[in-house]
Symmetry: C2
Subunit: 485 residues, 2 copies
């Protein structure tokens, strides 16, 4: 067994059976929605709804007490009124359940002493029975490859490579649709709530060992164990990138976080220092968090800061160049050999200086194959940005213009786009250098969809793509500086 | 006639007839694509392709010389090899055409003297015949309500309220798909290219009078007539907001711009000063440019910086609060009357402090109607942000849960969402305060589509929405400070 299988959180993410409190036949109740999403996910083990009255819930046999459940239970999920939680947790302990997710709110995040006392009470019960729980005041976890989703949104993304620990449940669940915009998904995702027993640091430790997790995303309103956090994070980020979005640094963000999960925020500069010391890359918005994860989780580390920008449109190329410098990158100066080779492929009005601008007179095959190959072969180039625009309709026009019948043009165009995308997507691995795309289109364009599904990150604008490449270069530099440690 | 109708650019945007050079029966040639987009747009006047050999082009009667055209021509569009342009422009002048768009490149943007001489030559010809042209090295103009689109992308957005002048053609054409993500569109859009006769300042002057244009967007690589620019912009921005994305301030951005349109960039701080002096709001990316235009062009000016944040999800609310402070806004402190009224509508675990967090136990009707009304009635609140999430599937579940048959649930849900959206969209006008939404979903959600189509701006994240509200508040402050001027 690896340290992953034996980690206390592993069983929460890989239960073989689940007992579920708080689902009923009222389909709008929070617990009912959560149970229905678990079933929608086709969770493979037995699920035992516990309910004082109902005998059947959502087609499942229900039980009035956990002691009546006919088999072992790996995980308890509690979506119950606050005051009932201690008693049920006690039942779980007596029955031998040692993992739980406590969704119920009304604990330490509340003003006044009562909620905090209640929270201490459930921690004491958990300790008495050696129960490890996530929450309270959370929305549970998601592990798509284990078909596990205890949250109240259906998991609509694909299984992915982003492992997330979040002090906001919404930034797990409401991101399913955001990640799907890029064909991305979670490997494993924790909503932590009040972190009474399981906090960000525990999750970083666990996700570091998670085999599907290639990058760790954090949403932070306040860190509870600063010293442990730095110790664990700075060890983990030596082998796996960590990206964090921290909102507590502004007074308004801090206050909002406080009433949300009771987390105590600190000054922005303090957190900046913690992140720098730990090798954590900081994002300034949720979009940026996932942009950075997309690139850091999918691309090789660049050897330096010199980026090549390839475009066929001046404005997007110039915007990418501007974002490169603001993001800490330099525009690479090409070797004379590179310039000569490029010159042969571009029209007279085009620019072979960086940004390389093929202009309208574009030959897509050069653009997505020969030119990236020339640029990546240049030792002055550490990474490559490609502006990605190949409207399906335009390719069909071209195919028709080349004499293919209209009935066949669609499938010819599809095949062409698919082939070009597959070629372009191989360059990062072939050259061991990051290759990132940016577009103002989205996955409704076949070209974008194919590139993304072939593993080339294509972000929602050139500026965002290049900014994420800057984050990757910063992380690579941190890794270089800490290799010997 | 207003100063709009008599402005020299008016006829370029409202031609009754067009002569078109450079389209052929080669459907992939740039000119052919541009002509086809004009025809796709159902331009209402006659279009005369001019071609030395073809007699029919894209189903239109073609003419070998402009002198053979049977009617008057309001606008010439030239998509020709560089060296032919002077001669054809001379022909236009002789034939009495006094407006032109010169798409051809190879002029002042080129290294060396030759291109610059050629550019001077066409300016001289234009002056000789009193021709006013846009370009060269541009991609033309778009005026959807006049069914005019001379660019090489089909205009797929709706007619909108953003008037744009851009030193990049791509940031006109390739934005059609970006604007469509929000149900937005251009009122009128200029690609300016090398600005030999028509520059940003001219367009600001013109767009100031354009009745459909509620906000002016600029993409700038370098300003050619600084003093005139400031004079015109600071006058115009007293009545219509102007938003600019300037990329020349970084060395890399400046270099890229130089080889793109020959525009000479200046230091970032200089341009910052120009923008501040002129009341122009500066954006840092293309997404931000259009985010700002979306809010500045659709919302009333707030009286102050105090924003109320309404959410049912803690994380998005906290992220909005954080972005508010970073964007120069303050979280409003509510009156005790407001707090009492809100208290009656939210569950015990929810927060009525700003951000107001209804939590999961949401009643959508309170959320989109009663609560905005309470918040906007508070004189401490200058503007309102609403986090927008109402999954269609979830509403259907609710309707089914309420006992409506599954066959009718879809249409009940549609009607509910449509009604709620209509109510929420009226608040900005009713209270004379900005009301802006933010979501991580997109227009594939009926709720988002309905809000946007009813006139409430819904941006692509809470952070982006609140950042745009900060830009609006900055502009409102500038207006207050310059009212007496």
């Amino acid at each position: 067994m690896s340290s992953y299988d034996t980690h206390a959180l592993h069983k929460i993410m890989h239960p073989k059976s689940i007992a579920f409190w708080g689902a009923s036949n009222n389909s709008m109740a929070m617990g009912s929605v959560q149970l229905s999403n678990l079933l929608l996910m086709n969770f493979e083990g037995p699920v035992y709804p516990i309910h004082p009255k109902h005998q059947m819930i959502q087609g499942l046999q229900a039980y009035s007490r956990v002691s009546e459940v006919p088999g072992p239970v790996d995980l308890a999920v509690l979506v119950l009124p606050t005051h009932v939680v201690p008693e049920v947790l006690e039942d779980c302990g007596k029955f031998g359940i040692d993992r739980a997710i406590i969704v119920s709110a009304g604990f330490g995040e509340q003003d006044g002493a009562h909620g905090k006392e209640l929270q201490q009470q459930i921690v004491d019960i958990a300790n008495k029975y050696s129960i490890r729980f996530v929450g309270p005041n959370c929305i549970g976890v998601v592990n798509p490859s284990h078909r596990l989703n205890t949250t109240f949104f259906p998991y609509e993304a694909t299984p992915g490579f982003i492992g997330m620990a979040s002090q906001s449940g919404s930034f797990i669940t409401q991101m399913f649709v955001h990640l799907a915009k890029f064909g991305l998904g979670y490997s494993e995702g924790f909503s932590l709530g009040n972190e009474a027993m399981t906090d960000l640091t525990d999750c970083i430790e666990y996700l570091a060992e998670s085999p599907e997790t290639r990058v760790i995303a954090l949403y932070i309103e306040g860190i509870r164990r600063g010293r442990d956090f730095v110790r664990v994070a700075s060890r983990v980020s030596r082998k796996k990138p960590i990206v964090a979005f921290y909102i507590g640094g502004s007074e308004s963000g801090g206050r909002a976080g406080m009433s949300h999960t009771g987390a105590m925020a600190g000054p922005d500069a303090l957190y900046d220092g913690i992140f720098k010391q730990s090798g954590i890359i900081r994002a300034r918005s949720i979009e940026e968090l996932f942009d950075f994860c997309y690139v850091l989780g999918s691309q090789p580390l660049p050897k330096g800061d010199n980026v090549a920008i390839l475009t066929h449109s001046g404005g997007p190329g110039a915007a990418a160049a501007d974002a490169a410098e603001r993001g800490g990158l330099k525009l690479a100066s090409f070797s004379s050999e590179t310039l000569t080779k490029l010159q042969a492929l571009v029209p007279g009005t085009a620019s072979v200086k960086n940004p390389v601008d093929l202009t309208f007179s574009k030959n897509y095959s050069d653009y997505m194959a020969s030119m990236p190959e020339i640029l990546l072969s240049d030792s002055n180039v550490d990474s490559l940005f490609i502006y990605c625009l190949m409207p399906h309709q335009r390719v069909i026009q071209a195919v028709v213009g080349a004499g293919i019948g209209k009935d066949q043009a669609g499938s010819f165009a599809n095949q062409y786009i698919t082939t070009q995308s597959a070629i372009a997507s191989q360059f990062a691995a072939k050259f061991g250098k990051p290759v990132v795309g940016g577009t103002y289109c989205d996955r409704s364009e076949l070209f974008v969809r194919e590139l993304q599904d072939n593993g080339m990150p294509v972000l929602a604008s050139p500026e965002r793509a290049v900014t994420a490449m800057g984050a990757l270069a910063k992380y690579a530099e941190w890794r270089r500086n800490h290799e010997a440690d």
